[in-house]
Amino acid sequence: MASIEITNARKSYGAVDVLHGINLDIQDGEFIVLVGPSGCGKSTLLRMIAGLEDITSGDISIGGTVINDLQPKDRDIAMVFQSYALYPHMSVAENMSYALTLRKTAKEKVASAIENVAGVLGLNALLERRPKALSGGQRQRVAMGRAIVRQPQAFLFDEPLSNLDARLREQMRTEIRKLHRRLGATSVYVTHDQIEAMTMADRIVAMYNGIVQQVGTPLEIYDRPANIFVASFIGSPAMNFLEGIYQAEGDKAAITLEDGTVIPVLPSPQAENGQHITLGARPEHIDIVQDGSRPAVSSNVELIEPMGLSTLVHVTLAGKPVKIFTLARPDLAIGSQVQIAFNMDKTHIFDRQSEQRLLPLNEPRHTQQT
């Protein structure tokens, strides 16, 4: 097991810069999830750690040793590919033992390691089969097994679950977490699925356009997103955004939307009166107020999506769509007016120009921002 430090790592393909100076410290035994939209450079960064891509500039070290110029085979890491990359002409057992035999491990040791891992992953009955004769989920397990057998310094995963159906993905998610808890190996896991990121990570690294946008625990990222990108990318259903102008007086502040609707927010020392703001509120932080018990604003009901456990109510406010998540089953007619209230403590304001979140008074800046 080992820590991984990435210092100012850049990657360019000719004139195209793909990664613009990544800094990241991964603790020994930590499960890190790199998340971001397609093309943001997640795979590139992972492949640089693996040694499959050159590092244009900067350093990557594993366990305190700079490994920039080491061959992949000398880095002692294991990787699980999105395509699984099982060797088609070898049986499951041969696939899993390939790395060990290359290392000239004793036969009995290899056999017991394979038996052990096959037991953990439920592959005992499949050891003699070729990858062709396996289902997608079984192939995925073999790919995992091939990585685990080696007991490497670190595990790298590049979207290992994206070829599985939803149910299996959910199951493997928990299984990978359990395995991690058991093996305690440093892991870097790439995904574009924010739910995978939230559920699996010790810490999430949110990336966009080759830049790390924020690093933090899942809840830090969820509750205190650094900017509009992170706020909109993490969370499902996604955060609502409304544009308006910031006004503060004393210890009270509010955003005036385009149609004049006023929404109270926590004052921020970083905001100025008259500043153009994007207001962000998660669907579960907007309440439907039917009894007039709280100050509320009026909106139009567009659509109601019952989801069993919860209900998603789509309304329009100041001409913009807003989604509201509620555990109640509100009795609303489409086209009618409904009073809604924003949960002030949970409502974020972002500078419209820089898209950075403007912190309310007293909130420490303890998540990394770029």
């Binding site: 693996a50 040694g51 499959l52 061959q71 992949p72 085979k73 880095r75 890491i77 294991a78 990787m79 590919f81 395509s83 699984y84 990359a85 099982l86 060797y87 088609p88 002409h89 390939y98 790395a99 290359l102 290392r103 990858p131 062709k132 091939r146 080696r150």
Partner: protein, 283 residues
């Protein structure tokens, strides 16, 4: 709209036409070979007297016995086996490594090399005979099998390389990356993971190059003057004399010359079929 009986009839007609067309094509493609065989077993005295018949009234193996025992043909035949076999072997090795590089690496000048290789394929070979002769003569490589092997290899490498490249392109890059992470160098990954998976492609390339070299006449004729280094296409010409063409013997030699090519394809057909179903090999 259509009753079941009607659609069954349509199906029969559809498949009937289908097979009829395939049969027509096969007959068209194989007829010359059939004629070769027919003439080779026709006795000389009735070759011209019987007119055009699908099968002669008498058949004989005389032409074959003559070719095998009285002519230089077995010697030409051996020469051809050596030249074609070596050409196929060397071309495939060069094409495999070059094709791999083209498929996997980005390097400066790649486009230029590809363009040059394409250009070499554009010139009529006749234009190149004189310069090649001038190059080979001082090296003592004219009139030798080695010279022929070198020239054939040089001419076949470009196309074989493109062929091999397309086979490598069909194999996911992830596979050798996984092997490299598992502890292989790139070359070991190539040899232990990629090559076994490209066997069908290599078989196809071997077959293609072997047949090309087997039937090559122009260079064989121009670069070689002695009997001892002649290949069989040149040998076939020896059945053409000033006084006439000995068709029976020539055809018998031709039929014999088909045997190694057929044997070769039988040998590699297992891999060729694999190649056609390569989609089953999924990364």
């Amino acid at each position: 709209m259509s009753t079941p009986g009607n659609s069954a009839l349509r199906k029969t007609v559809y498949w009937g036409t289908h097979y009829l067309m395939i049969a027509a094509f096969v007959v068209f493609a194989l007829f010359p070979l059939y004629w070769l065989l027919k003439v080779s077993v026709t006795p000389n005295d009735i070759l011209y007297t019987e007119g055009v018949r699908m099968w002669p009234s008498r058949t004989t193996w005389d032409n074959y016995t003559f070719v095998m025992t009285q002519s230089n043909f077995p010697h030409y035949f051996m020469n051809s086996v050596i030249v074609s076999g070596s050409t196929a072997f060397f071309t495939c090795i060069i094409a495999a490594v070059t094709g791999y590089a083209f498929s996997r690496f980005r390097f400066r000048g790649k486009i230029i090399i590809v363009a040059l290789m394409l250009i070499t394929q554009m010139f009529p070979l006749v234009m190149l005979i004189a310069p090649i002769f001038r190059i080979l003569a001082p090296l003592g490589l004219t009139d030798s099998l080695t010279g022929l092997i070198i020239v054939y290899t040089a001419f076949n490498v470009p196309f074989a390389t493109f062929l091999m490249q397309s086979f490598f392109d069909g194999i996911p890059k992830d596979l050798e990356e996984a092997a490299m992470i598992d502890g292989n160098t790139r070359f070991e990954a190539f040899r232990r993971i990629i090559l076994p998976l490209t066997l069908p492609g290599i078989a196809a390339t071997l077959g293609f190059v072997f047949t090309a070299a087997w039937s090559e006449l122009l260079f064989a004729l121009m670069l070689v003057s002695s009997e001892s280094a002649s290949t069989f296409p040149v040998g076939l010409l020896s059945f053409v004399s000033k006084f006439g063409v000995d068709f029976g013997q020539m055809m018998a030699a031709g039929v014999l010359a088909l045997i190694p090519a057929c044997a070769f394809f039988l040998l590699i057909q297992r891999y060729l079929v694999q190649g056609l179903t390569a989609g089953a090999v999924k990364g």
